[in-house]
């Protein structure tokens, strides 16, 4: 899926509303993640379709059809425009939000902020406290209650 320049800018500004700035991190769009979203949407048809439909609907939304488009709206107006899509196109909107969350929460800068170890799960794995049979003290005293046949 290839976005036009206009669509790409629109996507980036919507991403900033969906995942706004936090601490020292800017919003998802300003972090430059629209490119990743576009690439993932190109790989997976259902994300591609959602992205396409949401951007199209947003650009046709009456409140957005003003000079300067979505970018010219204040934050409250932007939120309102997105909420209309959420209410009217929930199936596509949900996938669209998933797409944004996937690229955002796959980013190392975000991992660092939330305290998640980036990279593959293996070979490090995680430590768990060793199995301690004392936890069975109460339940193991219960009389067998499986149903006899």
């Amino acid at each position: 899926m290839n976005l036009t320049d206009g669509e790409f800018l629109l996507l980036a500004s919507v991403m900033d509303i969906i995942v706004p700035p936090v601490d020292e991190l800017p919003g998802a769009g300003e972090m430059g993640l629209a490119k990743e979203a576009e690439e993932l949407a190109a790989r997976i048809p259902e994300y591609g379709e959602s992205l396409h439909r949401i951007l199209e609907a947003l650009s046709l939304e009456p409140s957005v059809r003003v000079e300067g488009g979505f970018a010219a709206l204040d934050e409250e107006q932007r939120m309102a425009a997105i909420e209309i899509l959420e209410a009217n196109m929930s199936k596509y909107f949900d996938k669209f939000v998933d797409l944004i969350y996937i690229v955002y929460y796959s980013d190392e800068r975000v991992h660092e902020r939330i305290g998640w170890r980036s990279g593959p799960l293996q070979p490090l794995g995680w430590e768990l406290p060793a199995w301690d049979p004392a936890i069975l003290d109460k339940v193991s005293k219960r009389e067998p209650f499986w149903r006899r046949v």
Binding site: I44, E46, V97, I102, W126, P133, R147
Partner: protein, 536 residues
């Protein structure tokens, strides 16, 4: 032009939980065995857990749902008429590549539901008959667990001690104790210690995406190496489209497409179907002939019918003590079988198991697999922080009863990449299952609150939860009401066997795979003992 191969004694179709077990068992008894598998070998370094983008892969090329993965090796399914999506994996190892390896057994009562509760049918065999095969399958795949469970009959020592249940598991265990409810550490085909050349689990979390350490009981690492060393030929990228039969209806072998799309024929003295509870009836329905105008061995008319899933509800508790609940194997912690049996004071029959599970990484948290999608906008970050690593899940596995209208048929239009018709799934949630799940949701809320959850969220029927595929070629003594007999041999042909979840008469309220494996080993034992005529 069709390529015809030299004949073999036993031809197994499918290399997953059941096919591998039959191959391994028969390879020790002097049978020549060939197994045809549509998928390929997956190298350890290909598993998503070896890659930084594992959470993206889990939603794309490694998704549980074949319709989302949409790889050439997958066959698409028409699920327009089903509220539950069937899940499966197509490779050497089958769905055991994807499974989370939570491995409880059926209870003795599960084989006698008609006698005990007046519903569905009894199985034509008992728990006691199956028990040695459960033990054998546990040993092959590697079971971690501990004896003494009061909800189940006494049994042989598991091959490995239990895997640690973690602080999150202990928190739930203590809550069950306070409520006076049963709980027990889950049996799991996950190595708690090194086992038969495979490493111990290091708790990385995502058991469901294939284990590159070989710590999970996947048949590609747990069974196939031994079977192949014993002489079995496992032929990959071989997609079966028809079981061939003679004028009397006996199998002569199977036709398949190889990787180049060429048509091949593998002759055999007997054919064993192990393509899972949807894949086997699909190919059987596609194997029409003069002897079988309605599908292979379908004189009962029941082929493809009585499809059972375990309709799955999920109740999630949000805690606030930062236990990092993503640490540890996802779905292998503890289970609760307090509500397993029919309770006359309730408005449903049969019961359910709670499988207590963990949470997962940041993408799963945000997209809401475990606790609803995190809201977008101004509150997003605060909500994400509250949920991340703080969710424990009670999954409900309810006993679904067989109903003929729940079924698969061949779709008139949809096909796989070789043009073989795809299955269309028809499934309606029964009132009994609905009431069962509702009851389970309420009890789960009680347990999670007792454990200290600040918020509880229930998903009353999870759509992407068709991981257990059962009942579509049911077992029974009467050829008019079943497809296979008590040995898995079809009533219509004495050299055609079915060994996967298709043969289930009822589905109990537990994950099915130890039972599938045990039944498969029992069928293999029968072939070895009684069917020397199948050896050339």
């Amino acid at each position: 032009m069709t390529i015809t191969h030299p004949s073999t004694d036993i031809l197994i179709l499918g290399s997953g939980a059941s096919g591998a077990a039959v191959a391994c068992r028969l390879s020790k008894s002097g049978f020549n065995v060939v197994c045809l598998e549509q998928g390929r070998w997956i190298k350890p370094e290909e598993f998503p857990n070896e890659h930084a983008d594992w959470e993206i892969q889990a939603r794309t090329n490694w998704a549980f749902d074949p319709n989302v993965r949409a790889l050439d090796v997958d066959y698409p399914l028409n699920v327009d008429e089903s509220p539950i999506d069937p899940l499966m994996f197509n490779a050497v190892g089958g769905s055991t590549i994807h499974w989370t390896a939570h491995t409880p057994r059926f209870h003795p009562s599960d084989f006698r539901v008609k006698t005990l509760d007046g519903v569905a049918d009894d199985w034509p065999l008992s728990y006691d008959e199956l028990e040695p095969y459960y033990d054998a399958y546990d040993a092959l795949m590697g079971c971690s667990g501990i004896n003494g469970d009061p909800a189940n009959p006494p049994r042989k020592e598991r091959p490995m001690p239990p895997i640690p249940i973690g602080q999150d598991g202990e928190r739930m265990a203590r809550a069950f104790d306070r409520l006076g409810w049963h709980w027990w550490p889950s049996d799991s085909y996950v190595n708690s210690v090194p086992y038969r050349g495979r490493q111990a689990c290091n708790n990385c979390g995502n058991t469901g995406l294939g284990c590159s350490r070989g710590a999970k009981g996947q048949t590609d690492v747990a069974i196939w190496p031994e079977a192949i060393a014993n002489g079995v030929e496992l032929r990959t990228e071989s997609r079966v489209f028809r079981v061939e039969t003679d004028a009397e209806g006996k199998a002569t072998g199977a036709s398949y497409y190889d990787a180049d799309g060429e048509e091949n024929f593998q002759p055999a003295n007997a054919v064993v179907l192990a393509m899972n509870g949807i894949g086997s009836p699909r190919i059987m329905l596609n194997s029409t002939s003069g002897a079988y105008p309605n599908g292979l061995c379908n004189s009962s008319g029941l082929l493809g019918k009585n499809l059972m899933f375990h309709p799955y509800a999920m109740v999630s508790g949000l805690f606030d003590d930062g236990l990092q609940t993503y640490k540890g194997p996802l779905a292998n912690m503890i289970l609760c079988q307090e509500f397993y049996e029919t309770d006359p004071s309730k408005d449903f029959v049969r019961g359910y198991t709670y499988q207590v599970a963990r949470s997962s990484g940041p993408v799963s948290t945000a997209c809401g697999y475990m606790f609803g999608r995190v809201p977008w906008g101004a509150d997003h970050h605060a909500e994400f922080n509250r949920r991340f690593g703080d969710v424990t899940v009670m999954g409900v596995i309810g006993e679904d009863l067989p109903e003929e209208h729940n079924r698969i048929e061949l779709d008139p239009k949809l096909t796989d990449s070789n043009g073989i018709p795809s299955p269309k799934v028809f499934y309606t949630l029964s009132d009994n299952s609905r009431r069962q799940l509702d009851d389970a949701v309420e009890n789960a809320k009680t347990a999670l609150k007792e454990a200290g959850a600040a918020h509880v969220l229930a998903t009353r029927l999870l759509k992407g939860a068709g991981w257990h595929l059962m009942g579509t070629a049911r077992m029974g003594a009467d050829p008019n009401t079943s497809v296979v007999d008590r040995w898995g041999q079809t009533h219509d042909a004495d050299n055609i066997f079915v060994v996967d979840g298709s043969v289930f008469v009822t589905c109990a309220a537990v994950n099915p795979t130890p039972t599938i494996g045990a039944l498969a080993l029992r069928t293999a034992d029968y072939i070895d003992r009684e069917r020397a005529d199948l050896k050339s």
